[in-house]
Every structure is written in C-alpha cells, then in structure tokens.
C-alpha cells in the first residue's frame, strides 16, 4: 500500500508536470516519468509482460521520437507563449479532467468493498500467458491490428514519397 501511494504521487506529479512545464523537453521528460511509473503499476499487478512492453514501446521508442522532434525544433529558442489556436481549450480540458477524476473516484468508492478482478490465475501476465492468449483465441484481433499497422506504415511511405519528390517533371520522364 505504501508503495502504491508513493507510485501514485509520482505518477500524478509527472502527469501534472507534462501540462505545467514551460519547456517542451521538460514536458517530454515528465511524460517519460509517467510512462515508467505506469510500467511499475503493471508490475505491481503481476503483468510483467505489459510492464516490459510499456517501457520498450512507449519509453524506449515513442518518447525517443518525441524527444527527437522536440529537441530539433526547440534548440536555442527562447521560451515563449504562443497564441492559442483553439479558443477555450484550457477551460474545456480542465472541466473534462475534473469530470474524469470524479468518474474514476466514483467507481473506486462504489467498488471498494471487494477486489474487482478475481478470475485471473497466477502468472496471467507472464510472457507465455500473453502469447497463448494473443496467438490462441484472440488471434483474429491480432491479425487485424497487424494489418492496420502495416497499412498505416505503407501509407506513410507512399504519401511521403509523392509529396517530397524533389525531381522536376523532365527528370522523371527521362528516368522512366
């Protein structure tokens, strides 16, 4: 319980840090912290594969790309406030955040009597257990998701190529 509270505080603080930080890199760092605390939450729930995947995919790949872009774009620039393009988004996001918090707290209070999840066996979050589910009964979903990701990757390649071809039209005709 003590561990949970420490983690919860860390997780909450890093989440707030993402929004509050003035420098984009600090925001990204807070987000990495948040991602890592989430991974530790998964570990506490015995979902070790989820924890590892969380760190590898989010902290190890996605956030590195975020940082890559942010460092390139913000290097040597002074911090400054940009005019907001979407009017009232701060107020709206605040309201939504409070609403989500109230909803979560309500669920927590309603179900505080007993454990929510009882039917999972020990070791349900291990690598082999996850594999058995993903490649067994849920394989159709996995295949669909894989197909979607492949389509997206191909689309990125195709769209980028068409937009960024620097050669003039004459050179293209020569090449073909």
């Amino acid at each position: 319980m003590v561990g949970f509270i420490i983690l919860a505080v860390l997780s909450f603080a890093s989440a707030v840090g993402v929004v509050v930080a003035r420098t984009p890199v600090h925001s990204a760092l807070s987000l990495i912290g948040n991602v890592v605390t989430l991974a530790v939450f998964y570990l506490l729930l015995n979902a070790e594969f989820m924890a590892a995947a969380q760190v590898i995919v989010y902290a190890g790949a996605i956030m590195v790309l975020f940082l890559f872009v942010v460092t390139l774009l913000t290097a040597g620039k002074e911090e400054r406030e940009r005019p907001e393009s979407l009017a009232g988004q701060r107020a709206l996001s605040g309201v939504l955040a409070v609403a989500a918090g109230v909803l979560l707290a309500g669920i927590a209070v309603r179900d505080s009597a007993g454990p929510l999840v009882t039917r999972f066996s020990a070791g349900y979050g291990s690598l082999s257990a996850m594999g058995r589910v993903l490649w067994g009964p849920d394989f159709d979903y996995l295949a669909v998701v894989a197909l979607m990701l492949l389509t997206a990757a191909l689309a990125v390649l195709v769209l980028n190529r068409r937009a960024e071809d620097p050669r003039p039209a004459a050179a293209k005709e020569d090449a073909s």
């Binding site: 190890g60 460092t71 291990s126």
Partner: protein, 330 residues
C-alpha cells in the same frame, strides 16, 4: 528469511556495481594499451607496474577537475543526462547470469540480481532507455555540435534496436522462454546458438557495437565533424560518467552476446562457470577494441542504409526461417 534474501540481494548489487566499475576502469586501460600495440607504440605504462594504476590516476584527475555548466544550458537536464546514461547502463546487468548458482552455507545463491521470466525483454527495455542520456545531453548543452550528436544518437539507436530485437527472436522461438537462465541452461544441454544462428549473431554483434556508440558506429561523437558530439560541454566527473556508461555498455553487450549465443557460463568442467563467463566476456571486449583499431567510421547515410536495408531484412528472414523450422512447416 525475507530479511536474509534482502541482505543477499543488496550484497550482490554492491558486488556487481564494484565489478562493473572495476571492469570499466580496466577495460579502458586494456583498450588504451591494446590500441597502443595495434599502432606500434606502448600505450600508458608509466603509472604503477605495466600502467596498472593508470585508472586510479585518471579517476583522481576526473574527480578534481572543475565541473563546468554552460551558461545557456538547462541546468536540470544537463545534470540529469549523465546520470540517466549511467543508470541505464548499470540496470541492464541485473539480469545477466554471471555463473551457475553457487551453494554457500547451505544456501543456493544464483549469480544474478534478479531472474525475471521476461529477462530478455528487461534487457531491451533498459538498454533502450540509455539513449535518453545522449539525447538530453545534446539538447541541454545548447551547442550545435552537441545537439547534432544527440539527434544522431536517437535516430541511430532506434534504427539499430529494431534489428537487435529481431536478431534474438530466433533464440526466443527455439528455447520458448525469455528467461536468460533458461536460455543458458538450454545451451549447456544442447548447443551454443552461435552455431545455428550465425547470421543473427552477426547482426546482434553489429547492432551491439552501434548501440554502444563504438567505432565504426560512433557517429554521435564523431570528433572529425562534431568536436565530441553530445558530451562536448561536459567536464570532470560528469564527463567521466558518460565514459563509464559507454564502457559498462560494452561489458553488458559482451555479456549479452555470451549469454545468448555463446552458452553463457557453460563450459568444460576444469574451470568454474564464472571463470568461463568472464573469459568469454573478455574475448568479446578484445574484439570490440580490435574492431575500433581496425575500421574507419561509417558515413551517416550509409549507417542508416546499412541498418534498415541490410540488417533488418537479414534478421527478419532468419527469424521467419527459424519459425518455419520450429513449427515443422519445412
């Protein structure tokens, strides 16, 4: 009993960090001496017998140097970056089995800090965090060379991590477990994976050199174009921390190559397992240094092409073949 296991773990952590720090110091000395021999000179041999006290002298020098902070730098991130690099380098070693379990005072002690079922994924998770040290150092220094080094490192590490992950999938398929201890046991009882997974081993070792930012893949700190890359602005102990991270990463990469492809601590019985492990790691460190002394640096576009168009397809085709073989399709 819980207290005892906690004490054992803490002692193991302290011993491991001690070994790694000593290993770092003497790998560096070994590299300087060997580079000397490769270049027909002697290398540092003045401090102590055969230069063996050189690391100590270097450590004292580094610790007493002034710790500079560039005026335009972001102080928090600037100080965080070397710590992040060193932390990621040290954390990976927690799951590498250094030897067969030993029996001491009626207790069975395994020679790794932790032995999670997802050992292999743990290694990838923490080694992928190492890139933050480099990127953050490059960005926070507010120096164009540093920034270029940091940006290069993030692009390079992401590309090569993919090939690295693919190269070990064949082992995962064959053994059926991501537990490093199980992988070593499998090799001790069957065969070393270097014999059946030649191409994945080559891909793994190439990407390991790239992940540790060693020549010929040391683009993030290419001194001929970027001064010193991401650590240009660092001095004193923080500079030393980047070096520690690099050399400990080298030891880790050697340890992983040995664990995954060369049977870990398994070997003939006339030497204890831990000695076999250390011998094999030492051999890999020598190869690392040998490659550094031999090969010139890649050009950046070639590095990227090599990673995406050669290493990834190679590893991928081999994984498919291994999977087909394991499932009995061919």
């Amino acid at each position: 009993m819980i207290l005892l296991s906690v004490v054992i773990t803490v002692v193991k952590v302290i011993i491991l960090i001690g070994i790694l720090m000593t290993g770092f110091a003497y790998t560096m000395l070994l590299e300087r001496r060997l580079l000397g021999f490769f270049q027909l000179r002697l290398g540092p041999n003045r401090v102590g017998p055969m230069g063996l006290l050189q690391p100590l002298a270097d450590a004292i020098k580094m610790m007493t140097k002034e710790d500079l902070l560039p005026s335009a730098a972001d102080p928090l991130v600037f100080r965080l970056a070397p710590v992040a690099a060193l932390f990621a380098a040290l954390a990976v070693d927690a799951v590498i089995p250094f030897g067969a379990p030993i029996h001491l005072f009626g207790l069975t002690i395994s020679l790794d800090i932790a032995n999670p079922g997802i050992g292999l994924l743990y290694v990838f998770a923490f080694s992928s965090l190492g890139v933050y040290g480099l990127v953050l150092a490059g960005w926070s220094s507010q120096n164009k060379y540093s920034l270029l080094g940091g940006v290069r490192s993030s692009a390079q590490l992401i590309s090569y991590e993919l090939a690295m992950g693919l190269s070990v999938l064949g082992i995962l398929i064959t053994v059926g477990s991501a537990n490093l201890e199980t992988i070593v046991q499998f090799q001790a009882h069957h065969w070393w994976f270097v014999f059946t997974q030649v191409i994945p081993f080559l891909v793994f070792f190439t990407t390991a050199i790239a992940e540790t930012n060693r020549i010929p893949f040391d683009l993030p700190e290419a001194e001929s174009e970027l001064v010193a890359g991401y650590h240009t602005e660092y001095s004193g102990i923080r500079f030393a921390m980047f070096y520690m991270a690099e050399y400990i990463n080298m030891i880790t990469a050697s340890g992983m190559a040995v664990t995954l492809f060369f049977g870990g601590w398994s070997g003939w019985s006339f030497l204890p397992p831990i000695i076999w492990f250390l011998l094999k790691v030492g051999a890999f460190l020598f190869v690392f240094i040998w490659i550094r002394a031999t090969l010139p640096r890649f050009r950046y576009d070639r590095l990227m092409n090599f990673g995406w168009k050669v290493l990834v397809p190679l590893a991928f085709v081999y994984v498919l073949a291994t999977a087909a073989l394991a499932s009995g399709a061919i």
